[in-house]
């Protein structure tokens, strides 16, 4: 029996019944990963995974994560295993410590099995800028479509069914967009709920740790067992948040759901529109209230530029430690400045340099009030507008992307910034947000996204869970579709 394409719960059931062992499963996963054609892997942890799996002999029945293998986006530090953020500047860099979320997962006996590719240092939305090149979507014809980013390898790997879950990070939509194009669940909780210690910073107040799974319940479970205050991260919420599992099956009746009309109005994919409207009807049939609401279009248009100004500026300092002096892929030079200049020029791709330049531009003394500082004020205006909406509505429901995964090299539609980038609001406001499969469009996944107010992770996951019951797209993976 193949142990791939199983959810966490399904694999757990096999362990409990003694039908298989972690070592068995790990070996099978390793086999499959070695045959992967979608360029999803950075450093592998195969020996460590086998060794760890071999020690797991007594099943922990109440611990869903016992013996479950998972993939790790390569911007999470893993002790003893190279973590280069898919950037040449960190080739050969081996962390001395594990990221906190990995420590917590390992404590629960989950097995990290390999690092996955990403858009370089977390910057990018297509999954094509990592130093190993394009990471492919397993859907569609082989190696023809992108999977999105920046958590490209983690999304692709879970969509391929190799592992039941993977770790991702989300600064603008880096979990929730690829989840849409890969037909899986991608969840980003409220900011400060999961420790970012060990996650390579891109922009701290937008960065989030999150998960890819093939069921909503399992994203909720992973969140439940890894969330909570960490002394090492001075942005983790001190007050413990309530359980999200206890009420996850609450019926939809009375739930108030908002759909932003201006965004729906610019959708062009007819299948998507049909699937979305069909879902809306099903939600109404279940007793939910679904309103198509107006929303200030100037605010929607400001989302992408606000995101770019803030993140490009702050990412410069988050990566100012990458100099080659006390770690990293140093390039020679005759002086400190030369070493650093040569190392950074060779180590960063052009795209990263462009972001840095843009960021440095908006931070200049003479410019910053009109740019960077204005973007911080813009953030407040945007968040205030959404906070107002959340006073009435439990969640905002929208397509996670305007269409299925694009072909490689396919140009974006002109003026499609709004529908392609609106999910960044969840990063501006720290809101919990989840993408899950909506349907298939000629065999290619479509995703729907929900975003709720801060600390409403339980409510969000509950509504998402009920949507999954309605779409029946539980454990969607490429093997099922092809």
């Amino acid at each position: 029996m193949s142990h791939l394409n199983l959810t966490i719960s399904e694999l757990h059931a096999l362990y409990v019944s003694g039908m298989t062992t972690p070592l068995n499963v790990v070996n099978e996963v390793i086999d499959a990963l070695q045959k992967d054609k979608n360029n999803i892997l950075e450093a592998t942890m195969f020996d460590e995974a086998r060794a760890f799996a071999a020690t797991l002999k007594v099943v922990e029945e109440d611990n869903l994560l016992w013996g479950i293998p998972f993939l790790v986006k390569d911007n999470f530090a893993t002790k003893g295993t190279e973590t280069n953020g898919s950037s040449n500047i960190l080739n050969g860099y081996i962390p001395l410590f594990d990221a906190e979320v990995i420590t917590r997962l390992k404590a629960l006996k989950a097995i990290p099995i390999a690092k996955t590719t990403l858009d370089e240092l977390g910057m990018g939305g297509k999954g094509i800028t990592g130093h190993k090149g394009i990471t492919y979507n397993p859907y569609g014809e082989e190696k023809t479509r992108i999977v999105g980013g920046s958590s490209s390898g983690s999304a692709s790997g879970v969509a391929s069914g190799y592992v039941p879950f993977s770790l991702g990070s989300d600064t603008g939509d880096s979990i929730r967009k690829p989840a849409s194009w890969a037909g899986i669940v991608g969840f980003k909780p409220t900011w400060g709920e999961i420790s970012r210690f060990g996650l390579y910073s891109f922009m701290p107040t937008l960065d989030h740790v999150g998960f890819f799974t093939r069921s909503v319940y399992e994203s909720a479970y992973l969140y439940e067992v890894t969330k909570g205050f960490d002394e090492k991260d001075f942005t983790t919420n001190i007050k413990p948040s309530p359980s999200v599992l206890s009420d996850i099956t609450t019926p939809l009746k009375g739930r108030k759901i908002a759909v932003l009309k201006p965004i729906m109005d610019v959708m062009r994919n007819q299948n998507l529109i049909k699937e979305f409207n069909s879902l809306v009807q099903k939600l109404k049939d279940q007793g939910a209230i679904v309103d198509f609401v107006p929303f200030d279009e100037a605010i929607l248009a400001a989302i992408l530029p606000t995101y770019f100004m803030l993140s490009c500026a702050e990412t410069i300092t988050c990566n100012a430690n990458l100099t080659g002096i006390n770690f990293g892929n140093k390039v020679e030079g005759n002086s400190y400045e030369e070493i650093v200049l040569n190392t950074r020029t060779a180590g960063f791709s052009s795209k990263i340099k462009y972001r840095f330049l843009l960021g440095n531009f908006v931070l200049q003394k003479s410019k910053r009030n009109a740019y960077y500082d204005r973007a911080q004020r813009g953030r407040r205006i945007i968040v205030d507008a959404f906070n107002a909406l959340f006073e009435t509505y439990d969640t905002i429901l929208l397509p996670a992307a305007p269409s299925h995964a694009p072909r490689i090299g396919e140009k974006s539609e002109p003026n499609s910034e709004i529908e392609n980038n609106y999910m960044a609001i969840a990063n501006f406001g720290g809101y919990p947000s989840i993408t899950l499969p909506l349907g298939l469009d000629k065999g290619l996944p479509l995703g729907v996204n929900l975003t709720s107010h801060i600390h409403q992770d339980g409510k969000l996951l509950n509504i998402a869970y009920q949507i999954e019951q309605l779409t029946n797209l539980y454990n969607l993976h490429v093997g099922q579709v092809k």
Binding site: G192, K239, A298, F308, E337, I339, T345, L357, D373, R377
Partner: protein, 95 residues
């Protein structure tokens, strides 16, 4: 059209661009400067208070002043190509 001194800005953050990169960057720059203008349409955008943190929680946690276990000198320097004995060594820095 906004003016930008690419070489100066690049120098400040210790990176350099090839002529091709400079050209490609200028295209991106033009595009983004246009995008950035969209903030001008936001109501009271230059009057409201900036937002730094998305969550406002009253917190008082501070780390206790107790030494933690450390990695050895060898381990802590192991990722550097400039390690020599117990130091990081670089060409002499002229103040």
């Amino acid at each position: 059209m906004e003016k930008i001194d690419i070489k100066k800005l690049a120098r400040e953050i210790l990176i350099s661009l090839s002529p091709e990169e400079e050209k490609e960057f200028m295209e991106e720059f033009s595009y983004f400067i246009e995008q950035f203008k969209k903030l001008e349409a936001l109501p009271h955008v230059d009057e409201v208070a900036p937002m730094f943190f998305p969550i406002k929680e009253e917190r008082d946690f501070l780390r206790e002043d107790e030494p933690e276990a450390l990695y050895s000198t060898k381990e802590i320097l192991s990722n550097s190509k400039n390690m020599k004995d117990t130091f990081i060594v670089i060409p002499k820095v002229v103040k």
